[in-house]
Symmetry: C2
Subunit: 218 residues, 2 copies
């Protein structure tokens, strides 16, 4: 009876795989090495099982990737109902961004796979806050996209330069070497403004600009 709860396992072997274990290992692997580093074989190796054992728990690699991004969506806390609506939208955007920063491989997949259940909850939550914000329905509709696009677009753009994690400086250096300050002074200056480190505040600043615009529109 209590045994029933216990996963059944063969006596000689370790406890069998299950879906959640596979998913967790895949997320960990992607966090460490990016999406490109995740292959079914490497994943199975790390878990100590044969490749095809994974397919007893996951229909295909595509399904696994979809589960992974849904797991990231699940990490975003629901909007705080105690906050004024637009403040809740703002906080929700920051929380979403934080999840993307923890899992830099997620934004591209987020765009490519259809939303799973967790992501639908994420959508519904944002739409609900917008609905009680006093914005007229059409503005709310556009606001949903404006906020989402900003969060995803910004994070994507930023991490394209910085992933895998530590070669940011290398990539910037390679890039700068390919651009002449004579013919493209503004581009070079722009990159140097980033090296000055004001990147982080830019996300919130543009977000506020969008939110203000929505509110003013009514």
């Amino acid at each position: 009876m209590a045994r029933r709860e216990e996963a059944r396992h063969r006596p000689g072997g370790r406890t069998p795989l299950d879906r959640a274990t596979v998913l967790a290992a895949a997320v960990a692997m992607a966090d460490a090495e990016g999406t490109a580093g995740v292959s079914m074989r490497r994943l199975a190796d790390r878990l100590g099982f044969a490749v095809m054992a994974l397919y007893n728990h996951v229909r295909s690699k595509d399904e696994l990737l979809a589960l992974m991004v849904d797991a990231v969506a699940a990490e975003v806390p629901p909007p705080d109902p105690g906050l004024p609506p637009m403040a809740a939208v703002r906080a929700h955007a920051l929380d979403t961004r934080a999840a993307f920063v923890r899992h830099p491989w997620a934004p591209p997949l987020w765009l490519e796979s259809l939303p799973g259940p967790e992501r639908v909850d994420h959508m519904e939550a944002l739409l609900a806050v917008l609905a009680r914000s006093g914005l007229d329905p059409e503005t709310a509709h556009h606001g949903f996209h404006a906020v989402n696009n900003h969060v995803i677009g910004y994070t994507l753009q930023e991490q394209a330069m910085a992933f895998p994690a530590d070669d940011l400086a290398d990539r910037v250096a390679v890039f700068l070497a390919s651009v002449s300050a004579d013919t493209h002074p503004l581009t070079v200056a722009h990159v140097h403004e980033h090296l000055g480190g004001r990147t982080e505040s830019s996300f919130e600043l543009v977000l506020d600009l969008i939110l203000d615009g929505l509110v003013r529109r009514g």
Copy 2:
């Protein structure tokens, strides 16, 4: 002498490959079947050459992909110097979006590869317009990102649902089937607003909202 200009070719065979031909074929192939459909083997087959012949003109597949996105950047016309600055920014954003609509496979690559020469021109052009817009330098810096993120983020998000080209309806149907109107009424309603067709105007509307916000900020 005139012969010198003529590409040298072997008498029995067709004119040899060159970099531009490979690039053009790759772009055409991606337009038709998406990035996933482009493999070096298939590309070589279509050109009537052996696989390894391609590598005489392109260092690697990654380089080829980078060239492809740079080719898309080259399609964006430079901002019209006759326009008032912010109107030119707006037009440039629309032109960039148009190029992405013609080549739906481009936005993800745009984010993943370092900018090539054409894309650097694209950056410099936008920065130049912003520089003569009267915005203060910090606002201009943020405006560059705000506009870029909107263009890329919006197009990416939109085409994630619609690519390959014709199965938009299918994907929407599959998605709607997975969402209950009881538990997620706002999500379902939001999707139906899209089916009503106001998607296209949303891009420009949010763009204007961002541009207004920048101008007001000074």
